[in-house]
């Protein structure tokens, strides 16, 4: 750090009033008015009255929606030219699909904005300030820099303020720091940085004890909490891989449709056909090319995937996250509660020098001392307080100690100080006044004068001087414990002179003067066991080439031990090759961090929640799809910045839950892995039904090409196409979306961000192979019926002609039936599709049934004939349409066999 600062936390409180142009009596009304004009209201929301409307309009600007709206417009235009064609029905259908798509996307996006509401709820509406010598309650939005804030127990702070008066003030800064333990606050100047100062209260945090006054110096978005709020609003989640791939697919299909439509419209005009015929024809080409039902089916498939995930304790808030979870390359996980059980238990107390377990008497004594520097309350529901303090109290009681006696004899408790990483207490113990400090070894080491050893139960006897040798030995013991995955706290004490602490009030400021010449009593090892299912889940991730990164605020040794126990790092890996501390992290530029991550860093210890953002940004810059877990308010920006934000259902705050796309109901890492497997399955299924749906585009386009190029009747009209795309293909597509995960799903690497849904192989297979086959067979039967009925090449037929209606009927019916063969074949890329499990997928059976019934009804059910302008054919010809199922399935199976043979 550079020269000691001259910021607000560094200066004496008297000076603060002058510098902020305020006074102990508070501001005047006129001053408040002026400052409100200068810095604005104390609110976290950037006012934007058009936001909702803009969000809605934006949904109508994507390629697909524009195409549908333009197509609807053309249909209405065509209808006004020639009402007999009933093109308005198609127009309404297309407009309806466009509207539904846009509204659905809007609702999804609108729901994602609720993080801000949760943040706003964090702050009270009214606040007490001193103005013109009187204490008044004002709207929290009306306070300004220079206002004197009145603080009392239970208050939630509404702005960043410098404390000028403190009566035992203690605040919980968890929303900002993530640290559950409360911190002591004073009015004295502090040499630390603003965010670490002990004389500053921050917006969003709460007063847990004491009273005081503080001078506001930052409001609204300029507070530290405001910055979190700003990030939560400003960071827009990057589109999920599926969204990107869908957008790509829609673009490609739209461009193909429009170009084909325009070319053939031009050709029609050039060959002298009437305008409305050309318009209808162009619409047919566009409608045939665009799989109208595909996007709604995507949504349905994702919704069904989210239901399946919910059964695995993975609650999905945003449907796109279903598939995005399956596409992740890296999972960044918290430790406590996610990888571990979050149940602290003391497993050992060791002699600092020998590293051996202490004797039972000394065991209880060390716990008694530790308890004297802890804050535990006895409630109706058991013990409450910091989990670590509760663990100490529980073990002390189990060891036969008298908890009530210690609490009665506790003269003063000095609260845990996050920056100092220790708490302390003064207790009457064994007839002596004892000052006890409990905390991290690094924090206590400079205060030690002696190290207890040899198991002597008489306090202080048998200890050795704290020289470099003994302290290094104690540190080695501590490191060895940490390396076993234990969280280590050390307990040190000193016996006070009787007259040093009188019976009166003990000021918190006394703590510092007492912290010297301490005797190290013992090292307490606390374990938060790894969840039993975690190592296997991590192995599964590794098998699927997914990296798991542990991010924790714990000591590096502890973090590394947990990472080893969880199989995140191999036992033989050395710390410097796979672990990094928050301090190192802050010194690295993003590019350097990327290099470190590429080299294999997988454990980040002693990190702050803000550093999660840096890790996410680096991983995303490496082209990775990142999932990030979080539970605190300050995790919200990182949860939004990650491709998949995962909040904890049990421990998480509302703000974290609203910022995330996925909520883990059991906080368990293994559930994330189950979700990834489901997500991969969803993508595989989406690929299957995209392939399935695009196959029917072939026989839909082919008749139009023949119609414009040759003097033949049109085999399918747009209503037929829509009955396939928005009718009979929907349930079979959903059935493919229901297919169970492939056993190989978690043995394949995640797909690259670049890998699209609409690959050249898929286009070739859909359009040029199966599509062509389906088109050829349906047209063959179409012309067979025509020729058998006496039609001659070049002869024009009217829509009312029974022969033409029968020919159109068999063409449509053949396509519907051949889609059954296509459907079964799409179940597996290499296997036949008639494998075990076909009868377990009830939607698949329903889909097949729908195709069969519709193919029959198209030909033989009069109401349907009327709607579709179709007519009956002899059963022998209908039998040939059934043969189409075998044909398409058989030819495709032959292709699969050839492919398998080649792969071998």
């Amino acid at each position: 750090m550079n020269e000691p600062g001259r910021q607000i936390q560094n200066l004496a409180k008297e000076k603060i009033f002058t510098l902020l142009h305020s006074r102990p009596e508070g501001l005047t009304g006129a001053e408040v008015e002026e400052r409100l004009r200068h810095v604005g209201r104390n609110t976290f929301e950037v006012p934007d009255r058009w936001k909702t409307l803009r969000g809605l309009i934006k949904q109508f600007t994507n390629f697909f929606t524009i195409l549908l709206i333009v197509s609807a417009g053309i249909c209405f235009g065509a209808h006004s030219i020639n009402p007999e064609e009933s093109m308005d029905i198609l127009g309404w259908a297309l407009a309806g699909v466009a509207l539904l798509n846009a509204l659905f996307s809007f609702i999804q996006e609108y729901r994602a904005e609720r993080a801000m509401e949760a943040l706003q709820k964090f702050l009270p509406q009214l606040v007490e300030v001193r103005r013109e010598g009187r204490i008044v309650k004002v709207q929290a939005t009306e306070i300004v820099p220079g206002d004197l804030l009145i603080l009392s127990e239970g208050d939630r702070i509404t702005a960043d303020a410098r404390i000028v008066e403190s009566e035992g003030l203690m605040a919980n800064n968890a929303p900002l720091t993530g640290e559950a333990a409360s911190v002591n606050l004073t009015a004295a100047p502090c040499a630390k940085r603003l965010t670490e100062a002990s004389n500053i209260v921050f917006a969003g945090c709460s007063i847990v004890r004491g009273t005081g006054q503080a001078l506001i110096f930052a409001t609204g978005l300029r507070t530290e909490f405001g910055k979190l709020a700003h990030l939560s609003q400003a960071i827009k989640r990057t589109p999920s891989p599926l969204e990107q791939e869908t957008a790509h697919m829609v673009r490609v299909l739209t461009v193909i449709a429009v170009i084909m439509g325009a070319i053939f419209f031009g050709y029609g005009v050039a060959t002298g056909r009437p305008l409305w015929v050309n318009l209808v024809f162009m619409m047919g080409i566009i409608v045939a090319n665009v799989p109208e039902g595909l996007l709604p089916t995507f949504t349905l498939s994702l919704a069904m995937g989210s239901l399946r995930m919910a059964k695995k304790n993975v609650l999905v808030k945003s449907l796109n996250a279903v598939e995005a979870l399956g596409a992740v390359h890296v999972v960044c996980s918290d430790k406590t509660g996610t990888l571990t059980m979050n149940s602290l238990s003391i497993t050992e107390i060791t002699d600092p020098l020998t590293g051996a377990a202490v004797a039972p008497g000394l065991y209880r004594q060390t716990l008694a001392l530790a308890l004297s520097a802890s804050e535990v309350r006895v409630t109706e529901n058991g013990l409450s307080g910091d989990p670590l303090d509760v663990a100490v109290a529980e073990r002390f009681t189990e060891a036969g100690g008298d908890l009530a006696a210690i609490q009665t004899n506790l003269r003063h408790y000095f609260a845990f100080d996050v920056a100092k990483r220790r708490s302390a207490g003064i207790v009457d113990y064994q007839g002596k006044k004892v000052f006890v400090v409990k905390g991290a070894f690094e924090a206590l080491r400079p205060m030690l004068a002696a190290v207890a050893s040899g198991g002597n139960e008489k306090m202080g006897e048998g200890s050795v001087p704290a020289d470099t040798v003994s302290l290094d030995q104690a540190e080695a013991t501590m490191s060895a414990m940490a390396a076993r995955g234990l969280r280590v706290i050390v307990v040190a004490f000193k016996v006070l002179e009787d007259d040093l602490v009188t019976s009166g009030e003990i000021p918190d400021a006394m703590q510092e003067s007492l912290e010297g010449d301490l005797i190290l009593a013992g090292l307490i090892g606390i374990e938060d066991p790894v969840r039993p299912e975690v190592p296997a889940a991590v192995d599964k991730c590794h098998g699927a080439s997914i990296d798991v990164i542990l991010i924790t605020g714990d000591h590096p040794e502890t973090a590394l031990a947990i990472a080893r126990k969880s199989n995140i790092v191999a036992p033989e890996e050395v710390a410097h090759a796979c672990a990094m501390t928050g301090e190192e992290l802050s010194s690295h530029r993003e590019e350097e961090l990327m290099a470190k991550l590429a080299q294999g860093i997988r454990v980040f210890a002693r990190t702050t929640p803000e550093q999660k953002m840096k890790i996410v940004a680096a991983l995303k810059a490496m082209g990775k799809v990142v999932a990030m877990t979080g539970d605190g308010v300050n995790d919200a920006p990182a949860l939004k910045a990650a491709d998949v934000g995962i909040a904890m259902g049990r421990q998480g705050t509302d703000v974290a839950r609203e910022s995330a796309q996925i909520i883990l109901l059991d906080d368990n890492f293994a559930s994330i892995v189950a979700g990834i497997e489901e997500g991969r399955c969803v993508f595989e299924n989406i690929k299957k039904f995209t392939n399935y749906v695009l196959v029917s585009n072939g026989p839909e386009i082919l008749p139009y090409l023949l119609y414009i190029l040759l003097p033949v009747p049109l085999a399918l009209n747009v209503i037929h196409i829509l009955s396939i795309d928005l009718g009979t293909d929907i349930i079979p597509s959903m059935a493919l979306g229901q297919e169970p995960p492939d056993s190989e799903a978690m043995r394949k690497p995640p797909r690259a961000r670049e890998q699209g849904l609409l690959t050249p192989a898929l286009i070739t297979h859909s359009y040029l192979f199966l599509g062509l086959l389906e088109g050829a067979w349906s047209l063959a039967l179409f012309f067979y019926v025509l020729l058998a009925g006496g039609w001659t090449y070049g002869q024009e037929l009217t829509l009312a002609d029974p022969l033409y209606r029968s020919a159109m009927g068999i063409a449509l019916s053949t396509i519907l039936l051949m889609q059954i063969g296509n459907l079964v074949g799409r179940r597996f890329s290499r296997r036949s599709g008639l494998d075990k499990g076909i009868f377990r997928n009830r939607l698949l059976l329903l889909g097949i049934m729908i195709q069969v019934v519709f193919s029959w009804a198209t030909l033989y059910f009069p109401p349907m004939q009327k709607v579709l302008h179709t007519g009956p054919v002899p059963l022998s010809i209908y039998g040939l349409a059934w043969f189409g199922i075998v044909l398409i399935f058989g030819v495709d199976y032959l292709r699969k066999r050839i492919m398998v043979g080649r792969e071998r």
């Binding site: 550079n2 910021q7 607000i8 002058t18 902020l20 200068h38 700003h230 530029r589 953002m613 810059a621």
Partner: protein, 281 residues
């Protein structure tokens, strides 16, 4: 060479807040001197102004800085009066405030500060203070880099005055991509752009080190891709807990018309921390 510091002081509370920046810069300069200029334009009485300047003077004394005040009568307008009071040349730095309240007019557009920035008679730093509690001593600075070939050369003199109290500098290179292209950009395209950004950042870092040596200031650099560089700067400022954004101004982004759509105006309006707009000769 360290510049002489001139403070354009209009007597508002915002000017008091801006004066802390001038004071802080002067305290780090060898001359330890501020030339405070106030144009008596009738908004405040002379008595009131003298009382306010006395308060600034007290702060200067406490910091060991000499304050030379100059109250001038209005000639034509405040702008030309200021031009007469502040000598031209690159050895002079004028510290002034952005408009305290936008009221629909923008924070810089149409202000005397904008005219001073445009005039290019001396170095100018126009500051918008939104966090007066920082007392003009930001410890973490965010420098958005525009990709200009001159790099940080222009701002180096100013930075050297800030440096003693700065702990960390964040250099940010936002690679701007048009909105239409941004959503369809391939991964390979993004990697290429990032590489270009990192190369530029490295050049700036080398330049910075050669000018300032291996100072105690920690320097962080990052490259981001965005279709909205203003929004990206604001996000990074919040994320990095920057206490001040320092940006260079150019004629391109100082149009007096259409100020509401002006990028600098957007930053001044939505900033989570103090902002300094700098122009060196």
């Amino acid at each position: 060479m360290q510049p002489h510091i001139h403070l354009a002081y209009d007597g508002s509370i915002n000017a008091d807040w801006v004066s802390r920046y001038a004071l802080h810069l002067a305290a780090n300069a060898t001359a330890k001197k501020i030339h405070l200029v106030h144009i008596l334009d009738g908004v405040h009485t002379e008595k009131a102004i003298n009382a306010k300047i006395r308060a600034v003077e007290d702060e200067c004394v406490a910091e060991g800085v000499e304050l030379v005040k100059e109250l001038r009568f209005l000639r034509r307008n405040v702008y030309s009066s200021l031009l007469e009071a502040i000598p031209p040349g690159s050895e002079n730095l004028c510290v002034c405030g952005a408009r305290a309240t936008s009221r629909g007019r923008g924070f810089l557009a149409g202000t005397i500060s904008e005219l001073l920035l445009r005039r290019k008679r001396f170095n100018v730093m126009a500051i918008r203070v939104v966090k007066p509690g920082l007392l003009g001593v930001p410890r973490e600075l965010l420098f958005p880099l525009s990709g200009h070939p001159r790099g940080l050369t222009a701002i180096m003199g100013f930075f050297q005055l800030m440096a003693p109290s700065v702990d960390k500098i964040h250099l940010l290179r936002v690679m701007h991509v048009s909105s239409l292209w941004f959503q369809y950009m391939t991964e390979a395209g993004a990697v290429k752009l990032r590489r270009e950004g990192n190369a530029y950042l490295k050049k700036i870092l080398d330049e910075f080190r050669s000018e300032c040596g291996e100072s105690a200031v920690q320097i962080d650099g990052r490259v981001t891709l965005s279709d909205d560089w203003v929004k990206e700067i604001l996000i990074q400022a919040s994320q990095l807990h920057a206490q001040m954004i320092i940006m260079g101004a150019s004629d391109r982004n100082l149009p007096s018309r259409f100020f509401y759509g002006n990028k600098i105006e957007q930053i001044l309006r939505e900033t989570p921390c103090d902002v300094g707009i700098y122009r060196a000769l």
